[in-house]
């Protein structure tokens, strides 16, 4: 099932009298339940594309449909609501609120979506999410009292609190050592696998990209390669499990979009 469709997306920044084209016509289709790595050299426009996909930014030209909605025509408030309900974000630098407990950090997005929840329900939900990322015993720790990996897991719990169908991660392992990177990536695989969450991850690290099953490579604002990763760690047992989970992850079609 098509979740994201991009057609001829362009993004041009204006620097004084110069126009800097960053994205030069991106066509892309992403289905529900995919786990995708967006790779490319630094400055190739990965983050720019991701911001457009994440409804944080608007393309200069082209069309973007998310879950059947034409985002290019949405107002800022509509995009805010979309981000809240349908999208989760994980950042390279975690972006947790300082001097604020893990619990409050995770519960923060609920202030903009679930005002009907009582304080207790909010806390319970945040605590449950922290439990799922393995931090049930760190509810009241402040970011400064957590390791980098733990902080990133708090950020993942925050991204998931509204149960979004799509998760965006911009260099989620960029600030982590290889061991904790591994943990975070395994968590992504698990979320994708067990909950059917579509995950789009930006990385410049080919080793990280290998954890995914579809790798889209960008260079100079164009998709130069869109391939199924046959060496994905979980690929083998994924295909064997595929049949069992066909209901949850409806279609895992590894279609390749035209570059």
């Amino acid at each position: 099932m098509e979740l994201i469709k991009l057609y001829a997306i362009e993004k041009t920044y204006r620097m004084g009298d110069f126009f800097v084209p960053v994205l030069k016509g991106i066509n892309l289709t992403i289905n529900q339940g995919e786990l995708i790595a967006l790779t490319g050299s630094s400055g190739s426009g990965k983050s720019t594309l991701m911001n457009i996909l994440g409804c944080l930014d608007r393309p200069s030209a082209g069309e973007y449909w998310l879950d059947g909605e034409a985002i290019s025509r949405c107002s800022a408030n509509q995009r805010a609501t979309l981000r809240n309900r349908k999208l989760g974000f994980v950042f390279q630098s975690f972006n947790l609120l300082a001097r604020t407990s893990a619990l409050d950090n995770v519960a923060m997005p609920l202030a903009y979506s679930a005002e009907y929840l009582s304080d207790k329900e909010t806390r319970d939900r945040a605590a449950e999410m922290l439990g799922r990322v393995g931090l049930a015993d760190r509810l009241h720790h402040h970011p400064s009292q957590l390791s980098g990996g733990q902080q990133q897991r708090v950020a993942i719990a925050r991204a998931l609190i509204n149960r979004p169908p799509v998760l965006f991660a911009d260099e989620p392992t960029g600030n982590l050592d290889s061991h904790t990177s591994q943990e975070v990536l395994e968590m992504f695989e698990q979320l994708n696998h067990e909950d059917g969450i579509t995950i789009i991850m930006v990385t410049h690290d080919p080793k990280v990209a290998l954890h995914t099953r579809r790798i889209i490579e960008i260079n100079d604002g164009m998709i130069i390669n869109d391939s199924t990763n046959m060496r994905s760690n979980r690929n083998d047992d994924m295909t064997s499990r595929h049949n069992d989970q066909i209901d949850t992850i409806k279609t895992l079609s590894f279609n390749t979009a035209a570059p």
């Binding site: 805010a80 974000f89 950042f91 409050d104 903009y112």
Partner: protein, 458 residues
């Protein structure tokens, strides 16, 4: 729902402020000082005003003083009270004919030395009056003894009531009731002691008085009209004990003998006596103006004044004094209030400054909140609530400090202080208003940030 959400926003704001309590405290200091000043000013102001009201009430705010007019001869004025036109009958007529006058009494004044045994004293005032005076002045309840009555007035009995100051000066600890004192060598029996009244607004000790029937004072003590008020200095003619001298010789000189022809021409009986003033009381404060009008027309008629003739008396009411004094206090309070308001304004600028700093500092947080779904208005709301909470916290501290300051003033300076709920309400509203006004621009700025740039902000 809406209220619960706002409350949550307020709690979030409080948490945000608690992350930097020292700065929050310093930021809101301007508001604290402003509100404290407002509250203290209002409480002290309200206190002095109510004290003033109380004083005025004890003096009798409804009291009218009617005095004889000014005599003048060849352009030379002799000053207030120099004509002798008021009579006790005028007083009775006022009481009878003016519906707005609830009570009236004639008064004569004297000043003389009072002697008891080997002690002597010159009281502030010796008033000759009627028992009505006691009810006008709320003095019906005596500390001891009995008041004099109408018969004492008619007979000119030599009885008197002493003010507490005088009683203390002459008798110290001993009860004066039943004792004899001498006023200008005339023996008076003390029949009672007045309840203490304290000083009036002008600092006049109202307890240093003698009250006696006006007939007695008029004919036995003053012996003349009020034109020679200070009797203690020129008492040569009265130095003889004139126990039975009801009509002293000096009185006769005031009324030149009329010939029989004159008497026939003018059927008006010779006036029995003139008095120094009439003290009347209006039935209530709002009737004072009506009472003055009625008294004027009654007196003009009684004094047979033609339309083009000026009044030969003048009427003064305390209301004039009351309003002047309370206007003055209110003016002072308002002035101080204006100063306090300026301090609040300065406090508001401080709030704006720190909110701008806070918005810049928390740019990434704003970007993050926007990324997870906060709309511009949510951000605006958050920072506005934060500013308002900051101001309200400052306002609350200010109220406590201001009230404490008021209490200290009461405790150490003995100034009258009155808690003013309206000032507290105003302080809360004003500090919330300052928060909204000065918090708006920073909050608006925050709400206009671009999420991507905010997230990338270093």
């Amino acid at each position: 729902m809406k209220i619960a959400a706002s409350l949550r926003t307020a709690i979030t704001a409080l948490k945000a402020l608690r992350r930097n309590p020292m700065r929050a405290m310093l930021t809101t200091l301007g508001i604290v000082i402003g509100v404290a000043a407002v509250i203290a000013m209002m409480e002290i102001g309200a206190g002095s005003e109510s004290a003033l009201q109380k004083t005025i009430a004890s003096m009798g705010a409804n009291v009218l003083l009617i005095r004889p007019g000014t005599a003048s001869s060849g352009g030379v004025s002799f000053g207030a009270g120099t004509t002798t036109t008021l009579t006790p009958e005028d007083s009775q007529a006022l009481l009878r004919e003016c519906p707005s006058i609830a009570n009236a009494t004639p008064m004569v004044r004297a000043r003389a030395q009072v002697v008891y045994g080997n002690r002597n004293w010159v009281p502030n005032a010796i008033y000759g009056t009627t028992p009505n005076y006691l009810s006008i002045q709320n003095l019906e309840i005596l500390t001891e003894g009995e008041p004099f009555n109408q018969r004492d007035v008619l007979n000119g009995n030599r009885v008197c009531l002493l003010g507490p100051t005088l009683a203390r000066e002459l008798f110290e600890e001993v009860s004066p009731v039943g004792k004899e004192i001498r006023i200008k060598n005339i023996a008076f029996r003390v029949i009672g002691v007045l309840a203490p009244k304290g000083a009036n607004m002008m600092g006049f000790d109202q307890d240093d008085v003698i009250l006696a029937p006006w007939t007695t004072i008029k004919y036995r003590v003053s012996g003349t009209s009020l034109t020679t008020t200070n009797q203690s200095s020129n008492s040569t003619t009265d130095s003889v004990n004139t126990l039975s001298n009801l009509y002293p010789s000096s009185q006769a000189s005031l009324y030149p003998k009329k010939s029989s022809v004159q008497q026939a021409d003018n059927p008006m009986p010779v006036r029995f006596a003139n008095i120094d003033q009439i003290m009347a009381v209006a039935s209530n404060a709002s009737e004072i103006t009506t009472a003055i009008k009625q008294a004027t027309s009654v007196l003009r008629e009684r004094h047979r004044l033609r339309i083009d003739e000026p009044d030969d008396f003048n009427i003064r009411d305390m209301a004039e004094l009351t309003s002047t004094l309370s206007t003055t206090t209110r003016l002072m309070t308002n002035l101080l209030l204006a100063v306090a308001m300026i301090s609040l304004l300065v406090g508001g600028v401080g709030i704006m400054n720190i909110m701008l700093v806070s918005v810049t500092e928390r740019t990434r947080e704003i970007g993050l909140r926007m990324a997870v779904g906060a709309k511009g208005q949510d951000i605006l709301h958050q920072f506005l609530v934060e500013a308002v909470v900051l101001c309200l916290v400052g306002g609350a501290i200010g109220i406590v400090l201001g009230h404490g300051g008021g209490l200290l003033v009461r405790f150490f300076l003995q100034w009258p202080v009155k808690t003013s709920p309206s000032a507290i309400t105003a302080a809360v509203l004003v500090s919330a208003g300052v928060g909204i006004i000065f918090g708006f621009y920073p909050a608006w700025k925050a709400s206009r940030l671009d999420p991507i740039e905010a997230l990338r902000y270093e």
